[in-house]
Each structure stands twice: as C-alpha cells, then as structure tokens.
C-alpha cells in the first residue's frame, strides 16, 4: 500500500513548515452538558489549528471528541468562551464565532460552514433519496459550483466510480463512508472535520478508508481534524495528536475533559 506512506511523509513536511495561517484559535472554550443527573464538561484552555495541518483527536467514546468537533463545525454552541476565532485564507479577517452565536447569526456560521468546511459523520449521513453522484455533489450544488469533474475524480480516487448512479441503500457500509468522505471534500473546503469516519467498519476496511481519506484530503489541500478512538490506526499516518485528560469528581457527578494542543 503505497498511498498512506506517501501521505504521511507529506503531512510530516507540512507540519514542519513555518508561517502557516492560523485557522482556529480557541481560548477557554467550555461546553457543559447534563444528562441523567451527571454533568459533562469539555474544557479547551488553548487550541490553535493551522492551515494544512492534519490533526487527530484520540480518545474513548464519551470523552467529548464529538462535542469539540461540533463546535469547530459551528453546529454546537459553546457554553462560554474566552476566545473562539476562525479565519480562512491569508487575507481574511478572523470571524468571532462566539459573537455570531450570541447574536443569533447562525446564517453567517452556516455560510462559513457551507463554503469552508466538510463534515464526515460516523455513519454516512447520506441523503437516501439522492444517488451517489448527487450525494457527493450536494455541497457543490448548494454553493452553485459548476460541474468540473471533481465529483467523478473523487469517486475514482475513493474507488466508488462504479456506483455513481446507485442509491446509498444499495451500498455497503464501507462504500457509504467513502461517499460521505467524497461529499465532505467535493467543494474543496479548507477544513475537513471527520468524526470517527471508520468506526462502523471492520479493521481492515477502516484502515483502507482512513488512508484514502487522508491522502485525498492531502491532494485537496484541506486541513484535517479527525476524531478516533483507535490510535493504532492513525499512529503511522503522522497526524498531530491533541492531548486530552478526563477526570471525574469524587461523587461521580461531574466528568471533565480537558483538550489542548
């Protein structure tokens, strides 16, 4: 398998390269959740993500990975934040995400997400009534982008070129995940956020899909933020790992996870 090794090498170079634009800048971002009398708190004292980075967030399920990803994708409002800025491109001014949430400017966040972010969900999240081609092309379609063969190119790279006319129901789970990855990348977003994209796959397929994902993201120059509970699979891919620590209060009423990097 030449792909993942090649990809890993490139990633290593990218991380070492200086003077990268900072895309995300977070300070003291907190999200509180209460469920069945037990409180969960996710705290991010400090997090900086630069353009082109490939970042892995490793941890057991329930450790708050999805919560952080959802906040980074602007689909979850932080409970409080010292700073939460988002910037794309070198000339763009940073957007104050907290401000947008506080002033109910969700359409602004929606526009940012639409243009700059691709999201891969744990299980597909494909629209059952659209063909594979239309599912991949959905984000391009929303943005009104022209058909330039990107969808077909992606399908080719993801090994699903033969399924373009099929509906998601006719695909295997692994194939559906590839379609989902294709959709997240089709509009060439600056950032791709993937929440356990291979969790529903068997280990062999998972490895293959993960390496495909990272190498295609690499080719599309997308920053990757990836959550996974299996470090073993991503260790050799050379991603930057975020640190996290989970503590539980003595009465078990509060679980706090601190993520930084």
């Amino acid at each position: 398998m030449p792909w993942p090794l090649q990809g890993a090498k490139k990633v290593q170079e990218a991380v070492n390269e200086p003077q990268r634009t900072t895309i995300y800048l977070l300070h003291d971002v907190i999200k509180d959740r209460v469920s069945k009398g037990v409180g969960f708190r996710l705290r991010v004292p400090s997090l900086r993500i630069n353009q082109g980075e490939q970042i892995a967030l490793i941890g057991e399920s329930g450790s708050g990975k999805s919560t952080l990803l959802d906040m980074l994708a602007f689909v979850l409002q932080p409970s409080s934040a010292g700073a939460f800025r988002f910037r794309t491109g070198e000339d763009g001014n940073p957007v104050d995400v907290v401000d947008c949430w506080l002033h109910a400017r969700q359409n602004r966040l929606g526009d940012l997400r639409k243009r700059h972010i691709g999201y891969v969900m744990q299980t597909g999240g494909l629209l059952p009534f659209l063909s594979v081609r239309d599912n991949i092309g959905l984000s391009r379609n929303v943005l009104g982008m022209k058909r330039d063969g990107t969808v077909e190119h992606l399908a080719e790279m993801m090994g699903i070129a033969g399924h373009l006319k099929k509906l998601p129901a006719d695909l295997s789970t692994g194939e559906r995940q590839r379609v989902a990855i294709g959709r997240a990348l089709a509009h060439r977003p600056a950032i791709v956020i993937a929440d356990e994209p291979t969790a529903s796959l068997d280990p062999f397929a998972a490895e293959k899909v993960m390496s495909l994902f990272l190498s295609v993201a690499q080719e599309f120059n997308s920053t990757v933020i990836l959550a996974s509970h299996a470090w073993r699979n991503v260790k050799e891919l050379g991603l930057r790992r975020l640190f996290h620590r989970t503590t539980r209060s003595k009465d078990s009423k509060l679980t706090e996870t601190v993520i930084s990097g």
């Binding site: 994708a73 689909v75 359409n107 059952p128 009534f129």
Partner: protein, 403 residues
C-alpha cells in the same frame, strides 16, 4: 437566491418520490378523512338544498287568502299590492258567482268550471305564457282542458244563467283558450280569467247591466267591494310577517306559515346537526393531518440536520417539510374529490327515481372544492411550518447524533 430555493424544492420532491410508499400512506390517510367529509357536506347541501328549493318553488306555500269573506275596497288592495313583500295580488269576486259552463266543439257535454281571478305575474301560471285578458280569454286547468279535449287556440262557448225579473235568462260568450295551466296549478276543473270578466259575470248574476257585453240589467250602484283576494308573498320567509300584519288590522288569513315554519325549523336543526358533525370532522381532520405531518418532520430530523450541515440556511430548511406537506395536501385532496365523485354518483343514481330531473341528493359547488383545498393546504402549511420551525430550532448537532 431563487435557484437556491429551487434546490430545496427539488430535493424535497426527490425525497417525496423516493419515499413513495410513505407518501402514498400519508395521501391515503388524508383522503380517508377528507373524502367522507366531502360526501357528508355534499349530502347536507344536496338534501337541504332540494328541500328549500321545493319550498320556494311551490307557489302554494306563498299563498295568502282571507278566511271567510270580507269587504275589501280597490284602494286598500292597491296599497297592499304596493308592499315590497307582496309580488302578486288580485281581488276575488264571490265564489258562488265565479263559475261558468263551458262547451267545446269536440265533446258533447257541458263542463261547469270554477273561475280563478288572474293577471300579470300570476305565480300559478307559467312565466311568459299568454295571460287571460279582457272578456274573451281563458287559461284552462289541466283537468278541464282534458275534459273538454281542447288545447291552446281553441274557442269555447261559455254560458251562464240568471233569474232576472222572474224570468230565466241565459247568456253566451266565446272564450279563446290562450294557454293550459301547468300541472298542479289548480287541481279541479277551473279556468283562469281576468278580474274584469269575473266582475262582469258577478254583475250579470246580480241583475246588473254589463254594457261591454251588451247584457242588460240595473245600472251599477256605487263602489265595488270584493269579498276576498289572491295574494302571493315575495318568498316563503315573508309569509309569517304578512300574516301578522293582516292579523294586526283584523283580517284573518289562511297561510301555510305553520308548515313553512316546520320545514324551516327542520332545515335549521338539520343544518345545526350537519355543522356539528362537520366541525367534529374538521377538528379530527386537522388533528390527523397535523399529526401525520408533524410525525413526518420528526422522522426527517436527521435529514434536515444534514441539509443544514451542508449549508442550507435554517430558515429555508422549513421549505423542505412544507413542500412535502403541500404535496400530501394536494394529492390527498384530489383523491378525496375522486372518492366524493364516485360516492355521489352512486348515491344520486340510487335515488334518481325519487328525484326530479336534474335534482341531486349529493351535490357540491365548485367553490366547496376550492374551500376544501384551501383548508387542507392551510392546515398542511401550518402543521409543517410549526414542526419545521421546531426542528430548525434545535442545534444541528443534536439532529446529527440521532440514530
């Protein structure tokens, strides 16, 4: 922006078609409630409509005549005729004097007939048919026309007798049949004639002279008064009012006000019952439609979240369930109208032998279909709008994590 909205509509349509078994269920569910409601309303409208039509159409229901005989002067009758709720009024002469013996050339027998005062706008006669005018025109009732074997255009010989100055005297006058009255206008042997002819016949029998017909006798004495009149109210709703007005000035009249009131009360009660049923049906219909559409939006929450994730605006996402609800509303309505048509056809053909031509027991007007469509679409839009707004309000991440 329009292209963008159009994308949502297209996606909603594709989803609706893709999920056709589900869509069919929603449409059937809607039609199952709306169809019977249309039939129910059609029956109410048809039956009550036919009943009211019959009431209004039968002029006998609008007739008012004085009980016994009185003394009514021409001026007073004229003032009554001018009332807005009176459409027809002619004076009557004494009924004992209002007969004549008729002989036709075709039948060798004398047919005595009652004479009925008539004139312009007589509700018992066909509108537009020739009227009995002057001293030589008659409109025969069906039964007298049959007995005399005559039709319009034939000429009859009318004769009457009096005992004057001790001698029996009989006069003859030619009468042209200008028309035959409709069935039911007058049940016995009778003839509609002008008031002037009736006055002449009464004068002759009273021994007075009728110069117009060269009948000799004593000269007329003073003002004429009439023992009665034929009056028709403008509508059945005016009958009771006129009766009360006559009673107030001491004129007792015979009307069908009691029967009219019975039918009107029945109409009101029936209408109330129908509306009660319709209201319950409408509430049930709105709830069932709302519930199924709401359930549909709940079911679609994950898809709606995905659409938001790929960048559709929250506000526009509501169009997705809205369009689908409108599809359901319109298809369900169309199916319900189909159900109604089939049912109405069966009901009407079952009852056809008891109905007059063109009459229908189950009947709806165009506007009723439109009202049904409007109500259905409004209910659909409201239900989908509320449910859609609710699902748009939850954070997209919540919808995404649902399995």
């Amino acid at each position: 922006m329009i292209a963008y909205k159009f994308k949502i509509l297209r996606l909603a349509t594709r989803d609706y078609l893709h999920e056709w078994p589900m869509s069919v269920c929603f449409v059937l569910g809607l039609a199952a409630v709306l169809g019977p409601m249309l039939v129910l309303f059609g029956l109410k409208f048809g039956i009550v409509g036919a009943m009211t039509d019959r009431l209004i159409e039968d002029p006998a229901n609008r007739e008012i005549r004085p009980v016994g005989s009185g003394r009514f002067e021409q001026e007073w009758l004229d003032s009554v005729r001018r009332k807005p709720d009176v459409v027809f009024l002619v004076p009557r002469t004494r009924s004992i004097a209002a007969t004549i013996d008729l002989i036709s050339a075709k039948v060798s027998r004398i047919v005595p007939v009652e004479l009925i005062a008539s004139g312009q706008g007589d509700p018992l006669l066909e509108a537009g048919a020739p009227l009995p005018e002057g001293f030589d025109h008659v409109v025969l009732s069906r039964s007298s026309a049959n007995k005399l074997a005559v039709s319009a255009g034939d000429v009859l010989d009318g004769s009457l007798a009096r005992r004057f100055q001790g001698e029996l005297e009989r006069v003859h006058l030619p009468l042209t049949v200008v028309a035959i009255a409709p069935e039911g206008a007058f049940g016995r042997d009778g003839a509609f004639v002008s008031v002037r002819l009736l006055e002449a016949l009464e004068d002759f029998r009273d021994g007075r002279a009728v110069p117009e017909l060269d009948w000799s006798g004593q000269p007329a004495d003073g003002r004429r008064s009439y023992p009665g009149f034929r009056l028709y109210a403008r509508s059945i709703h005016d009958v009771a009012g006129l009766r009360n007005a006559f009673a107030a000035i001491g004129v007792e009249v015979h009307t069908r006000a009691a029967q009219i009131e019975t039918v009107q009360r029945m109409d009101r009660n029936l209408t109330a019952i129908y509306w009660a049923i319709a209201a319950i049906g409408l509430v049930g219909f709105s709830l069932s439609l709302g519930a199924s559409l709401w359930a549909n939006v709940e079911r679609k929450r994950k898809q709606l979240s995905i659409l938001r994730l790929v960048g559709f605006r929250t506000r526009d996402i509501i169009w997705f369930p809205m369009v689908q609800s409108l599809f359901t509303a319109m298809l369900g309505w169309a199916l319900a109208v189909g159900i109604y048509y089939a049912t109405a056809l069966v009901i009407n053909s079952m009852m056809s032998d008891q109905l007059e031509a063109g009459q229908q027991v189950c009947r709806l007007l165009q506007i009723h279909y439109m009202i049904a469509l409007g109500l259905t679409c409004s209910a659909a839009v409201i239900a989908a709008g509320l449910a859609g707004t609710r699902s748009a309000r939850i954070e997209p991440s919540e919808g995404l994590r649902e399995i």
